[in-house]
Symmetry: C4
């Protein structure tokens, strides 16, 4: 909890409480995802089996959103590990990214309730696209001329990994735009791609 | 996690867990804001597009409340950075301010559901006014005769910045009282003003 | 994050993560209290003013519960400051107390929705009684023959302060049992009594 | 917040923020359990007493789920105490386990609303079975050839304790499958068994 300082003529802040707020918002958003699963409960299903079957699209999209949020959180975590300090612009980017993180439970609920609707799928995919781009922009900004992060190969690899969800989201939106339903299944390639790409730590 | 001590004959406390509770309540309130977006979901809209369009006022007010809460959190964060310790009165002020923070999701929901209603707008604006005044009072108290914060130009600037949301809220209430709807748009000047004002760290 | 150790033949644990979970649950429970305020929103009120008026009993009980929870949190905080370590039994007591903390939003909602109902009031008051007794028992246990807390006058005063909410709750239940409505107003004497009692830190 | 490192040719990460996210998700899931208790509130009960009586199965299952989640959290806490660092696979296992933790409030709501339904009971028990197995697998993985945890008798005992909830869950599912209702009562033996088994710290 150090004092804010001026580094290279810019005011900077310690990063500990930004991390605490970020962890809190991610934790809540990841848990709040389940609220969408409560809603059908009041619906007039004949029995528990019918209710559970009706929840399957919700659960699939819930698990998908949970893992995508977890991957965003992990990237943020890795990024923060390398940060020497943060500045006001970095904090503004982080806040905007968190705003879109908190919208993920809502767009997941939408696509879970209307799994065959193209617009619902695009809304969900656009939410992940924007969130992913904001986190990528944050890394780009932080690494720019060694501003907040000391340069190194981990930055190169981090940037590449940060583009995986945005690119897959664009692909999913393109698929949805052609009228194909269940375009959200495109995200299943995310873990495969992330496994193949070298990790930020590999060259440290 | 030091022991409570008596400084200048007053009992004081370490600040770490107050920060943890504050971060938790801010994170949760900022995420809970989205719950208001769930409610129209059960409404009988014809299609997903109509539902999304009906959500626009909610999303705008949600984003507005999210950024105002983030700015309160950031001010609190900066304030806490300068605190040497806290006392019982500071803690009471913080608790009362957090009570009004937790009400923000509700008043945001109200104004999002009734975007043309003057009373709904005033309720939302009064909530932000009171919350802002309580956080400003906390800084005033902490800085009074170097009670909890060592004096310095950052205090002068912090006090000035802390008055931005309360003054804009008063302005918005005045606009609403004349019968103009969408008075909440007044808050759009907050980031502009905060950008112009010198920051707490600038003179450290 | 030290290793568990055996002190005086008993296994003990570090306290940091118990504090983190406790802060998290208190923060969520204190924010979740507002969910009760959302429910009337779907009710068919004529206008926003009528809706806000109908929320008054909810808001009063919400504020009451918020401050009682904050006082429990603060006592727990002070208690934890003095803890050298925790043991399995202390953790079990803490978990049970947290269970009743998470029930407070529900019993607050109940008494806010039925402010004139005797049984609703008693349910709310019994919830605070049990929670308060569990936190008091925790202190009693921790301080027993210097088990987890080194003895001192702060323990004597802490025990006295820890009995305030339970005693006021008993008083409120007794008032409710005689058929008097709004017995929850009894809690207004809590801050007065806590102000008069010497604080745990005073004699350190 | 150390740097990621390569230990024995594997990339590893510091554990602090994984613990923060885990504590957040557990705290939120344990509090969100109460949301199930809100739902009957809108139902047309004659009076508060009838409403409270209708909540009894919900409250019993809520308390059961709360203590099972608390025991998972405590095992995770003890496990993390012994961790030297974490790797990508450990993190993936932790994320998957947390996914099932966040589903517990939903399956608890299901079994609380349909306490006599066999399928609802099995859904709840299967949720706890999978969560328990994932946490056990995590310990198995971490302890494998001293990968992330230095070997010792605490590992042997930790593994044994980690199997209690899975085995009891299997037993409960078997009981439910024979058509016996209220099979969730089987979990009442968990605290008894955990009390009898030697603790991880005992032999350190």
């Amino acid at each position: 909890m150090g004092q804010p300082e001026r580094v290279q003529g810019k005011e900077t802040f310690p990063k500990a409480r930004m991390e605490a707020l970020t962890d809190g918002i991610f934790g809540f958003a990841m848990t709040l995802l389940t609220v969408g699963l409560i809603i059908p409960d009041s619906s007039p299903y004949e029995n528990v089996a019918a209710m559970l079957i009706s929840l399957i699209p919700d659960i699939l999209h819930y698990a998908l959103a949970f893992f995508v949020l977890a991957s965003f959180w992990f990237s943020h975590h890795m990024q923060a590990t390398h940060l020497r300090f943060i500045d006001r612009r970095y904090l503004a980017m982080n806040t905007t990214a968190l705003l879109f993180v908190t919208l993920v439970p809502i767009s997941t609920l939408l696509v879970g309730d209307f799994p065959e609707d193209i617009l619902a799928a695009i809304t969900f995919e656009a939410n992940l696209l924007i969130t992913g781009l904001l986190f990528a922009a944050q890394l780009w900004y932080a690494a720019g001329s060694g501003r907040l992060i000391s340069p190194g190969s981990h930055v190169v690899q981090g940037k590449r990994r940060a583009m995986v969800v945005p690119i897959v989201s664009l692909l999913a939106i393109a698929i949805a735009a052609t009228g194909i339903t269940w375009s959200t299944a495109t995200y299943l390639i995310v873990p495969v791609v992330l496994r193949i790409l070298p990790t930020t730590a590999a060259a440290d």
